[in-house]
Symmetry: C2
Subunit: 122 residues, 2 copies
């Protein structure tokens, strides 16, 4: 323990708006997944299984654009974002998504992996 109270006093100072579980819409989730950049972000998050900082991702776009994509994912309810020090950690909202749309996340990830393999870039 003592992680939050001592080393990260700033955690929670800047907080980000997330949609409540029941406000998550399928259309929004699918729209979030329909961008190649965001799809790769989600795949990497799922592959790692834990939280990853924004800077961990090496996307072929500028940092402002990266910020934009993470915001779209958060507002669609796909990821959960939390500040930890200067870093912003990102994690999949697997629990909520599985609850709302059982099997959807895994099916999408499988489909993405399959296509990646088929196109020869995975």
């Amino acid at each position: 323990m003592a992680v939050v109270s001592t080393t990260t006093p700033a955690a929670g100072s800047r907080d980000l708006p997330h949609p409540v579980r029941d406000d998550i819409r399928l259309e929004g989730v699918l729209h979030a997944f329909s961008d190649p950049m965001r799809l790769s972000i989600v795949r990497e998050l799922a592959a790692d299984g834990d939280e990853l900082s924004c800077s961990h991702f090496d996307l072929p776009v500028t940092k402002s654009t990266t910020t934009h994509h993470f915001r779209v994912l958060r507002e669609a309810g796909v990821i959960r974002q939390v500040y930890r020090g200067t870093a912003k950690m990102n994690g999949l909202r697997r629990d909520d998504l599985d609850d709302l749309f059982p099997g959807l996340l895994d099916t999408l990830l499988t489909a993405a992996a399959r296509q990646s393999r088929r196109l020869g870039d995975g």
Copy 2:
């Protein structure tokens, strides 16, 4: 046989461009599904199981907009369109989609139905 040659001589006169199976992209499919209008079209097509004419659908938009949505669905590889007389018949490309992304179509349809029930409009 003799279906094409006798009863539908016009079938094939005006032909519509469809993507080949291997050109279907997950992002495109998800984008097609991310519009409420198109989502309801696909749900109805799946519920019926067979081909339906464009005019069968009673959407809260004009006919030009309806045409637009059907084209998006076709170009994404979600549906197959064929002229039969003056009518344009629409059918899901279930075979190709299941081949490329096993389980995706059913999972999406289930998720859509579930959300519809949850929101109380299904």
